[in-house]
Amino acid sequence: MMTTDYIGKPTNRVDGPAKVAGTAKYAAEFNVPNLLYGYVVSSPIAKGKITKINAEEVLALPGVHKVFSHENVPSLAWFDRSYKDDVAPGGSPFRPLHSAEVKYSQQPVALVVADTFELARYAASVLEIEYEQTAHETDLSKHIDDAREPGGGKTGYKPPKSRGNFGRGWEQGVAKVEANFQHGAQHHNPMENFATTVEWLGDKSLNVYDKTQGAFNSQQYIMKVFGLSKDQARVISKYTGGGFGSGLRPQYQLFLAVLASLELERSVRVSLTRQQMFSFGHRPHTLQHVALATNADGSLSGINHFAVAETSQFEDFTENVVGWSGMIYDCKNVKLGYRLSKLDVYTPLDMRAPGAASGSIALEIAMDEMAEAAGLDPVEFRLRNYADYDQEQNLPFSSKKLRDCYHEGATKFGWANRNPAPRSMRQGNRLIGWGMAGGIWDSATQPAQAKASLDADGHLRVQSGSNDIGTGTYTIMTQIAAETLGLPIEAVTFELGDTLMPEAPVQGGSWTASSVGTAVRKACQALGEKLLKQAQKMDESAFADATIDDVQFVNGQLRLRTDPDQAVVLRDLVQASGEPRLEAENSKLPGMLGMLKPAQYSMHAHNAVFVEVQVDEELGTIHVTRVVNAVAAGRILNPKTARSQVLGSVVWGISMALMEESVMDHRFGRYMNHNYAEYHIPVNADIHDIDVIFVHEEDDKVNELGVKGIGEVGLLGVAAAISNAVYHATGKRVRDMPVMIDKLL
C-alpha cells in the first residue's frame, strides 16, 4: 500500500537528476544575450593608496568597454547602513571601488569590462596601477596586547558570561592543566567560485543571478546601495555550489556586476578566480588559552577559556568561541574572555560552525589532557562532568542526549578496548591512537514564509525564497509538504532561491530545516484547512461538521479520522472550487512573536566523536583510518542527506586537524597559498571509514517538527579528537592546528 509518510525516511535528493546530468544552473551559467564580462583586478599591497590608474592603453583595445575604479564610480549610497547586510558585523562595511585607499591585500581595485571573458582577463592583466604603500600589520601574534572586547553590532552576538570564582576553583583543584592553542586563518573555498550574472531588462530593471546563501540579503543590499526598487532588483539563486558561510554576506562581485550593468545598461557577468576566493571573509586566525582544574572526584572545579581573534580595521567580526565552554560541562567556576585585534586584513566571516569549531579544538584537547591528569578515561571524565541543565543561561535543555552519543559512539567504536597509555598500540611501523571529543551547537529558528498551492491536476507547488547550498533543503521541504498534505512525493515540487517568492532567512546557523521547514508545514496546513472548507461546501458533505483535527490527509485524499471510508480526492476539491488552484501561506505572526518571548529552554544539538589515527613512526604521516560520529540533533528528516551532512563535517574536521590553513606572508600581508594546489583539503584517498550515528532524540519544545539542524554540529570535536588520537598514538600533544609532520618530529 502506498504511504505518504516521508518525514524520517531516507529519500534521494529531488534535485539529484539535475545535478548529475549537469542541467542545474549556477550563477555564472545563465548565458543571457549580449553579455559582457567583468574581470576583477586585485591589489598587490595590503595597505596604502592607489596613486594612478593607466587605463588608456587598455581602453584602446577593441572590445574593452570600461575600466571601473574609484576614479569613475558614480555617487552611490552615502551612509554605512546602506552597505550593511542582514548578517553584517558592527562597524563600517567595506565599499568596493569607493576610494583610493587600500585596506587589505587582494582588495578589488578595478573592474575591466569587455566583450569576452578572455579579453577582460587579458585587459585586466595589462592594466597598470601605481600604489603608494604604507606599513601594514597582519600578524595576530604580535598584536595580542592590542586586543580589546568587541563592540556590539552583530545580531545575536552576546559577550561570554563568566560565573562563580575561577580563581578559587583553580586553587582548590587537585589536578590542573593549562595550555595555549591556535589555528591559522581558513577560507571556505566552496567549489563554485563567487559569480554574479546580471541580466539587464531595461529601465534599471535587473534579474540578478547571484551566488549567495540568501537571495533576499543580496536583494536588500543592492536596493540600498544602488537605490533600486524591489521590482528592479530580482535576485535568483536556485543552485549554490557550496557555501559553508561564505555566501552569508553579499560579496563584492555582486556589487561590481550590478554597478557595471547599471552604468553600461548591458547584461554583465563577474566571476571571481580561485585566487580571489581568498580575498574576502575567512575563519579568523585565533589564539586560545584554556585552564582546567578538577576536584579529587574528577569533577571540574574551574574552567577558564580565553580567545583572541583577528578582525579587520573596519568591522568587528564576532563569533562565539568560548561561550560553549560554560555550557557543555557542569562547573560552578567559569571564567571566559574574548577579544579582537584589528589587523590589515578583510573582515572574517562565519565559516561552518563559526566559533564553536575553533573553541571546541582548545576545550576538547584540554579536556583530554585534564582526563589524563585526573587519571580518568576521557569518556568517563566527560560523563562525570555532564551538564544536566544550561548553567550559562540558567535554563533546562529542551532535550540533551549527549550521554547517548557517548555510549552509542563508544560502543560502535570499540572504545572499551582502549589501552589508555600513549604509544601502546601499533601495527607494523604505524603507531595507532584512539581519541575522542564532543561538541554543542545552537538550535535556532528564524521567521520564514512559505506558500503552498495545489492545482486542479493534484500537483502541489510549495515556494519559499530559501537556499540549498547542498544541505538537502529541496528534498526535506518536499518531504514535509508531501507528508503534510498526504500526497505522493512525485506530486510535489518545492521551489526556492528567488526574491519573488515568500521571504526566508539566509541559509546558515543550521536553522533552515527548522525555520523553513516549519513555514512549509504551516503553509501546507493552511492549505489543508482551505481544502476542508471546500469539502464542506459539497452537497451532503460528510465533512460538514468536521474540524481540521477530525480529518487527515493521506494518499492524495482528505478523509475523516473516525471513518476513513469518507474520503475525497484533493484534486477533485480544487476542480470543484472552480479556481485553477487553491493557495495558502503560513501566518507571519507566530514566528515573529516567538522571537520576542523570553526563552524557556536552552536548545542545542550535541555530538561525540571517536577517532582512530595511524601515524607512521619514522615519517610522521597521519592517516585518519576510522571515525565514529554520534549526533543528537532531534528528529532527522532525511537520514540519507543528514548522513551526508555529517560525513562532510567529518571531512572538514580532518581537514582542520591535518591540512587546512591560509598561510600569510607577513612581509606582504598576503595569503601565499591562495589556490587549490597549496591550500590543502582532503582528497578521496585521504578519507577512510566514517560511521555516522543519529541517536534517538525527541524534542517537542525546539519547534513543531522537533528538528535541531545538522549542518554544523557534526564538525565539532572532530579536529580535537584527531589531535587527541595523535597524542595517544605518539605521546606528542599538538595544540597548534593543523597537525603536520614537522610538529611530530
Binding site: G22, T23, A60, M191, N193, Y676
Partner: protein, 194 residues
C-alpha cells in the same frame, strides 16, 4: 612609504591575437566556432557553446571540476586550449545522460547521495567514467587513489566511492575482494533505500 607598480613583468603594448576557427565533435554533435586562441576548452564549452554542465572550480587543473572525456580519456578541460583540440571527439556530462535517461554512474551517484552542492559532480562523474574506461582500478583503494584528482569540498568522498564501486561491482570489474575501508563495509554498500 614606497611606490609599487602593478604591471606585467614583460610589458609589451597591449594587442590582440586573431581569432581561429575550431571544429569539435561534442556529445556526437559537430560544432564549428571561432574563438581567440587563448580560449580554454572549458571556457569554449561554457561560454561559447552553452554547455555549462562542465564546471570551473580553479581554472588551473587543481580541482578536477572541469573534467571531460576526449576520445574516452578524462582530461581537465581548463588545461587545454580549444584550438589545440581541433577535430577531437569530446564527451561532457550532458553527453553521458539526461535527467530523464541517466547513465548507470549518474544513477548510482543519486542512489548513494554522492554529492551535496553538486558543483564538483559532473567532473566527478566524467572522471569516474574515465576511470571505468581505463580499466586500471580494481580495488577500493585504487579507486580512491585514482579519483583523487577531483576535489569535493562538501566531503562526499565515501559516497562517491561507494557509488563507483557499485557500478564496477555490477559490471564485474572488482578483482580484489579485500575488506572495504570506506563508505561502510561491503555489506552496507547498497544505498539506503526508502
Amino acid at each position: 612609504m614606497s611606490t609599487v607598480i602593478q604591471k606585467p613583468l614583460d610589458h609589451q603594448p597591449p594587442s590582440l591575437p586573431p581569432t581561429q576557427s575550431v571544429r569539435l565533435t561534442i556529445n556526437s554533435q559537430e560544432s564549428h566556432f571561432t574563438v581567440a586562441p587563448w580560449t580554454t576548452l572549458l571556457d569554449a564549452l561554457r561560454e561559447h557553446l552553452d554547455l555549462t554542465g562542465t564546471k570551473k572550480g580553479c581554472d588551473h587543473g587543481q580541482c578536477g571540476a572541469c573534467t571531460v572525456l576526449i576520445d574516452g580519456k578524462r582530461i581537465n578541460s581548463c588545461l587545454t586550449l580549444a584550438v589545440m583540440r581541433d577535430g577531437a571527439d569530446i564527451t561532457t556530462i550532458e553527453g553521458l545522460g539526461t535527467p530523464e535517461n541517466l547513465s548507470p554512474l549518474q544513477q548510482a551517484f543519486i542512489d548513494h547521495d554522492a554529492f551535496q552542492c553538486g558543483y564538483c559532480t559532473p567532473g566527478q562523474i566524467c572522471s569516474a567514467q574515465g576511470l571505468l574506461n581505463e580499466g586500471k582500478a580494481k580495488t577500493e583503494a585504487e579507486v580512491r587513489e585514482l579519483m583523487s584528482g577531483n576535489l569535493c569540498r562538501c566531503g562526499a568522498y565515501p559516497n562517491i566511492l561507494s557509488a563507483i564501486m557499485e557500478v564496477m561491482d555490477k559490471d564485474g570489474l572488482i578483482m580484489d575482494t579485500k575488506e572495504w575501508s570506506a563508505g561502510g563495509a561491503k555489506p552496507e554498500m547498497d544505498p539506503i533505500n526508502s
